[in-house]
Amino acid sequence: MTSLLNNLNKELNLFSKAGDTNLNDILESTDDFIKDLKSLEKDLELAIESEESIDISSVGKVNKWYDKSISSLKSYNSQINKFSKNILTNPQYTIDLDDAYTYPLNIESLPISLNQNLNEEEAALKEVKKENQQELIKAIILHLLKIGQSDIIEDIIDNKDYDFQINSELLQQFKFLNEIVDDITIRHDLTKALAWFKHKYNSNVLKKGVEYEEIEFKLHILKFVLLLNGNNEFSLDNALEAYLYSKENFPRFFKTYLHELSPLMSLLLFKTIDDKESTNPDDYARKHMINLLSEFYNKMKLTFSKDWEDNKSNESRFVQDVLNNFETINENSSIFTNLASEFISYYCKDMKLSNDSSLFQGILAGFINLPPFYKYNKIQRKLSRVSMSFTQEERPNLEDNETLSSETINYNKIIAPFTFDLPFQLSDTNRFLFEYHPVFICPVSKEQLIPLTQEIEEKKTKKPRLEPSRPHNPVVVLKYCHHVALKESIWQLSRRGAEVFKCHYCYKKHKFSEVSEAYFIDL
C-alpha cells in the first residue's frame, strides 16, 4: 500500500464508523423513546381499567431524544467534513481528468446537441462528429459481443437513429459465444467450451497443437477441480469421477505440464482418503487425519508457490490460483471470468477477428499512458497560460513556408497529417502489450516509415478519404553492409544521388544506385 492508499483507508474507516455509530445512536434513541411512549400507553390502559389517575409528564423526554439525535448528527457531520478536507479537497488526491484530455476526439461531448447555425466548416466537422459517434457505438457493440454480452446489443441495434448492418452469420456465432461465456462465468459449467474445441478438431478447422494447448489445459484443470470439489463436499463418487476424467483428458498434457499436473493429482489422493474416513466415523482418528492432510496440502501449496517464483508461466500462475482457492472454487468468480476472456480470444481468432476488443485495447492503452498526457497538458497550460486552444495552434503545418488555405486547415482538423506526431515520447516499458506492426524509425531522419497502403485500383468514389495521402518514401537496404534507412534520407545523404556517401552506422561507402527498396512483412 502506498501512503495515499493508507491514508485513504484510515479516513474512510473513520468516516464509515462515524456513520454507523452516530446514525445507530439516533435510531436507538428513537427506539427508546417509542418504548417509553408504549409503556406510557400501557400504564394509561391500566389506569383506565382501574380508574386511577396517572402522571404522564415523562412524555417530556422528547427533549432528551432530540438533544441526543442532534448531538449525534453533529458528530457525524464533523467527520464528513474531515473526510472532505483530508481527502476530497486535498490536492494530493485530486487530478482533474479533463486536464488529461490533451487531444479531444472528434465526437460530441454532450448526449445530444442541437443544430445551430453552422458555417460550412462547422457543418463538415459536425458531420464527422456524427459519424464518429456511430463508430463509437459500433465499437461498443463489438466490445459487448467480445465480452459475451450479445443480448444487450439487440436493444442498441433496434435504435432507428443508427444506420449500419451487421453480418448476421458472425452475430450468430457471437450469440453462441455468449452462451458459452455465461456457462463459464455464471453457471461455472465448462462443458460447452470444451465441446467447442472437440468440434473444431473433428471438423479439422483447428489442428491439435501448441496454439490451443494453454487454454485447453486450463479448462481441463478447472473441470477436474470442479468435478472433485464442485459442490464443496468430497465424496468417493466425486473423486472417482475426477479420476476418470483426468485419466481420459490429462495424458496429452503430460509432456508440457507435468509439473503443474502433479500437485493436482495428489489432491485426488487426499480427498479420497478423507472421504473413506468419513464413512467410518471415528472422530478422533478422522480429525487427526484431516489435520495431517491439511498440513500436507499447505506444504504442497507452498512448494508450488516457490517453484512458481522461478517459473512465472501463465499456466503455473493459473494452477496456483486454482490451488489457492481449491476449497472455495465456486466463490472465486475471477478465476472463471479470466478464463472466459481467454476463451473469447481464441474464439474470435477462429472467426478471423482480432482476439480482443479494440475498444478495450484502446482504453487499456489510455489507462497505461494517461500520465504523460496529463503532465504534458499541465505544463503546456502553465507555459501558454492559454487554455484549450493550444492544441489547435500547435498542429503542424503541412509545409511550413506555404500559407495554408482554410480548406486544408479544416481537413487537418478531421484527418491529421503524417507530420502530426505526439510531442512527447511514451515510456517503452509497456509497449510489449501493443506490438501490432513492425515499426521502423529511420536512423538518419528519425522519421517513422509510412508503408504503402494504396488500393489496387483507386476507386472513383467521391467519398472523403480516410487517410492523409502517403508520401512515397520506402525503406532501402544498403548493398554492402545491409543497414536500413528511409530512401529520402539516403537521397539527401548522397546529395540527390550525385555523391558517394557513408553508411550512417558503419561508414561503408555506397552510391545511391547501390541501395534497393524493401518492405517489412510480418508473418
Binding site: M1, T2, L4, N9, L37, L44, I48, I54, V59, G60, V62, L73, I80, D96, L97, A100, Y103, P104, L105, I107, S109, L110, S113, Q116, K138, L142, I166, N167, T337, K352, L353, S354, Q361, G362, I363, L364, G366, L370, Y374, A416, F420, D421, L422, Q425, Y436, H437, P438, I441, P443, Q448, I456, K459, T461, L466, E467, H482, H483, V484, D522, L523
Partner: protein
Amino acid sequence: MEPSVNFYIQSNSTQFKVPTELIKKNFKTAQKLIEKQKKQLASDVSKIQKNPSLPNSMKLEMIRKLIKSFETFQKKLQQVVDKDKEYRDRLTARFDNLNQLSQFTIENDDHSHDTDHDDKILDHHNSNLINWYRDQANILIIDYLIKSNVKTEQSIGMKLLHNLSAVNPKFMKLIDYDLFENFNKIYVSIIENHDLSLVIWWFEDNRNSLKKINSNLEFEINYCKFLSFIQDGKTDEAIKFSQNHLSKNGNISNYSNNEINNYYKNLEKLKSIGGLLVFLALNETDNDLLFSSSLVKNSSRFHSYENLLSDDRWTNLSEVFIENFTKLYGISKNYPLFIYLSAGLSSLKTKSCYCNYENTIFFNENQENLGITNTLLDKKLRGPNHYYKLLNKINHCPVCSPEMFKLSRNLPYAQLITNIFNNPYKLPNGNIYPFDKLTNPTDKYLSDKDSLLRDVKIRDPLTREIFSMEDCIRVYPA
C-alpha cells in the same frame, strides 16, 4: 512517467467525491426530518403537559397519536439511514477496488527513478492487472452509455450494469448510476422536451450547495422561461414574470462579491429584454408595407432577437446545467471514456495503421473485393492493408479496426522506436520477413518447404516466388 497506484487513485478522486456529496445531501434530509418531528412533537407534548387534568382516555388517545407519528418518523429515518449506509458502502467498495492495485505492483528496485519512494509502479506483465482493467473499462463504457442515453424507455447502460453485476455484484457499487441517470433525464428534458420542471426541481433540491459554487442557474432558468412566454405570445405573463423573477437580477446589491461576473452577464441579457418586446410587436403585425418596420426586420439586431427565441436558449440552459452539475459533484466535463480513449488511441497510432475492414462485423459500402490472381507481384500488395489478408494473418491492431481507425483520424501519431521482428531476412524481391517463420511456414501451400530447403531454396509466402537462399540476406534495421 509510468502508470502508478497513486496516479490511479488521484485520477479517480471523483469516485469518492460523488458518494460523499450524496451522503451530505442525505444528511440534510435526516436533519430536516428530525427538526420537523421535534417541532410537531413539542407542540403535542406541551398540550399534554399543560392539561394534567385531562381524562385518561383522552391522554391515551394523545399518546397513541404520538406513538403513531413517531413510528412513521422512525420508518422514514430508517430509510435515510439505509441510504447513508448504501453510499458509504460505495466508498468502501471503491477503496477495495483501488486497493487491489497493491497486488499488481513491481517491487521497488533501487533505481526508483522519477517517482517518489512511496508510489508503486504497476506491473503490466501481470494478467490479473489486465483483467482488473477490463472491469474498469466496462465501468467507463457504462458511465458513457448512462450519461449519453437519450431514450426514455430503456437505458442500455443500466442493462449492461445489471448484466455485469450478475457475475460480479461489486459493479453496482462502483458507479453512481442513480445520479447519472438523473443527470441524463434532466438534460434530455431540457434539450429534447423543452421542459423546465425537472431542472427547476433539481435547482430547488440543491439550492444551498449551488449557491456555494456561485451558480447562475436560477437566472438562466427564469430567463429561459421568460423567453418561452414571449415565444408563446403571452406577453402579459412574460412582463409579470420578469417583474417578479428577473428584475431583481439587475440589481447589483443582490449579488455577492463572488458572483459579480454573473451580474454583468445577466445585465447584458436583461438589457435586451425591452427590445425583445418591440421585436414581438413587429413580428405580430403582418404589416410589411410599413417601410420603417421592414427596415428594422432586416437589421442585424432584429436577427439577434430571432436567435434569442430559437432553440439556442435550450442549448444554453442545458450547458449551464451541465456546468453546475459537474462542478457540484466534481465530475469531469468530458466523458472519462473519451479521455482515456483519446490518450490510448494516440499512443497506439502508428504510421503503418490502415482501415482494416476485415476486423469488424459491420458491412461497409467501401469494402472492396480485390482480384489477386495476376497481380501477386504488384508492389502495392506489400502494404499491410493487403499482405495480412493474403497471408491469412489476423491484424490485431486496435487502431486498424475500422471503428477505432475513424475515431482516431484527427489524433496525433505516437512517437515510437524501431521495433522489427527478430532476424529480418530480405529476399531478392525486396520483401523482408522474420527468418524463423519463413523457414517454418504453417500454411498448406508451402507444404513443399522441405524439398525446397533441401535445395537450399525458399519460397516467398506472399508472391510465391522461389529464390535461392544464397541470394537472401539478413538486414540490420537498427
